[in-house]
């Protein structure tokens, strides 16, 4: 009887260990690959003359760490967090009139201001992250929620336009800074990319891992800056700089990958050796390779937009550190590639956002120190067809 009890305890402990191990990594679910025959049509994004200009005061700067567009009380607003002055400035979106300025040093008094980022959902839900916690303040500056991060420098949540916060149920999903030990496959395999902060019980959990190509090869820090968007099916779509595929997941059992290779990429994206990365040459190697940047989902035209950074043409271009040529791939809602064109207008792709009326805007002239500028972008299809707008 004693042996039976001991044996039962051992079995239960082992079962619990197996269960815990599985529970800790629900996101390492193999993806089902789908190849959709691409049709690289000549769709372009073109900057228009429709522009918005948000003036900066003497003591605010163009050093925008995070920004977002939001709707409150039936009106649209845009907020900018300027890291240099540590202030959040909110403007009425269309009138471009400044309506509020929040000083982080005041609202975060007594709290760390290390690596802050800001997301304003509405005037009573102002989310701020620093190197250790997620906070939520109301319009009076009163702290309503604080949830600490899991320990470890690879677990800093951050609000970025190309890693948008997603509120689903009680959870706020937030992306993570790419801050993993770049030469350790073990660390890379363990790294999770997404936080879920439960706003009702203050618990947090991490989801989703890097894809196979990263789990088997080293690419270095420059290739770590993953991005994602959130589609109309309620799924996350992840994009990785060294991976031609994109990944759609509900973070549970649904996990699909799709062919999303640039027509300009004519060779595989080669890994980078540990020695090269350790000798601080990783960035140079990054510039010699094609890579993929931000991904966005246009909820009105139901298209995905994916940035492609072309490899530097020659050693001169690498040494001069000049901008890489970039193109934008466009995929339809079935993940079929329907276009890819080189960017000719001077706008920041990573700053693209969509307004409630279906407008698509991006930042331009980011060096201007006295105002923040945005232009409206339009799709220019080869047939110049007008596409009807509908969000659902």
């Amino acid at each position: 009887m004693r042996y039976f009890t001991t044996w039962t305890i051992i079995c239960l402990t082992f079962a619990d260990f197996i269960y815990s191990s599985c529970k800790q990594s629900p996101s390492v679910v193999a993806s089902t690959y789908t190849y959709v025959e691409p049709k690289y049509g000549n769709i372009q994004l073109q900057a228009t003359n429709d522009s918005l200009h948000y003036p900066l005061s003497k003591s605010t700067y163009n050093d925008i760490e995070s920004f977002n567009y939001f709707i409150a009380n039936g009106a649209s607003f845009i907020s900018f967090f300027d890291e240099r002055s540590a202030t959040i400035t909110i403007y009425e979106f269309l009138s471009q009139k400044r309506i509020d300025k929040i000083k982080l040093k005041k609202i975060m008094e007594g709290r760390s201001l290390y690596k802050p980022s800001v997301y304003i959902r509405n005037f009573d839900s102002i989310f701020i992250t620093n190197g250790a916690l997620l906070y939520m303040f109301n319009s009076k500056g009163e702290k309503k929620i604080s949830i600490d991060f899991l320990t470890g420098t690879d677990k800093y949540a951050v609000f970025e336009n190309y890693k948008p916060p997603v509120l689903s149920g009680n959870n706020l999903y937030v992306g993570v800074r790419p801050y993993v030990e770049e030469t350790s496959l073990e660390a890379i395999r363990k790294w999770k990319l997404l936080y879920a902060f439960n706003l009702t019980n203050n618990k947090r959990e991490m989801f989703y891992s890097l894809p196979e190509v990263y789990r088997e090869n080293l690419y270095g820090y420059s290739f770590m800056n993953y991005t994602y968007c959130y589609n109309d099916k309620g799924n996350f779509v992840f994009c990785f700089p060294a991976d031609t595929a994109i990944y759609e997941t509900d973070l549970m059992g649904y996990h699909r990958s799709y062919y999303a290779k640039s027509r300009f990429q004519d060779a595989p994206i080669q890994p980078i050796s540990k020695e090269v990365i350790e000798n601080d040459k990783g960035y140079n190697e990054f510039r010699k390779r094609d890579s993929y940047g931000a991904i966005f989902f246009d909820p009105y035209r139901k298209r995905y937009l994916r940035l492609v950074r072309h490899r530097a043409a020659d050693t001169d271009q690498i040494s001069l550190n000049s901008e890489k040529i970039q193109s934008i791939m466009i995929l339809d809602d079935n993940f079929k590639i329907i276009g890819e064109s080189v960017i000719t207008d001077d706008f920041s792709f990573s700053s693209i956002f969509f307004t409630v009326e279906g407008g698509m805007y991006a930042r331009v002239n980011s060096k201007d120190e006295n105002a923040l500028h945005f232009v409206r972008l339009l799709y220019v299809d080869e047939r110049h067809e007008e596409r009807p707008l509908s969000k659902n």
Partner: protein, 180 residues
């Protein structure tokens, strides 16, 4: 006490002569090709405004990566620039490097209750952070000494040495050491 002073002196001397090591602040540039290329990059950072006939002389360049430097080194360097802006020695050049324009660069001077003032053809703003891209500096105020169109010494300041490094630059003592 004397032993401690002697030890510190030897340690400082060893640091100064050892070339590039982990925490060393002084690097002697000995490779001919690198001496030339660093000098050319420095001339480019000064917008090619240094006259040809002066380029052979003993020159010194202070690069302040104003965003990347630690607060202590940044403050001391800004203070020194402000103090010496009206009486900057000949053949001394200052480059303030950042991924930012004049307004943001000036904000660091405002923090020290000062104003970024122009020093014609002696103080330059590197608003596209070329100095860092060209590996001339990283996260420390960095001083280069050149002679005969070659850079022969790089001094990357750290909090413990920044005062002395700046004194050498602004008072010209570094060159005197070499020339004597």
């Amino acid at each position: 006490m004397r032993w401690i002073a002697t030890f510190l002196f030897i340690a400082a001397a060893a640091c100064g002569k050892s070339g590039k090591t982990g925490d060393a602040t002084v690097e002697l540039i000995t490779l001919d090709g690198r001496q030339d290329s660093v000098f050319r990059k420095l001339i480019t950072l000064t917008n090619n405004t240094i006259a040809e006939n002066i380029q052979d002389d003993s020159l010194a360049f202070l690069i302040l990566p104003i965003e990347a430097s630690c607060a202590s080194c940044r403050k001391k360097t800004i203070d020194s620039i402000v103090i010496h802006s009206r009486k900057l020695l000949d053949r001394r050049y200052i480059i303030i490097s950042a991924k930012a324009g004049r307004k943001k660069i000036n904000s660091y001077f405002l923090e020290e209750n000062a104003e970024l003032s122009a020093i014609e053809n002696r103080l330059f703003l590197d608003s596209i952070n070329s100095a860092a891209k060209d590996s001339l500096c990283f996260d420390r105020p960095t001083i280069y000494y050149t002679f005969n169109r070659k850079a022969y010494k790089k001094v990357a300041a750290i909090p413990a040495t920044v005062r002395q490094n700046l004194r050498n630059f602004f008072q010209g003592t570094e060159h005197e050491e070499k020339e004597n």
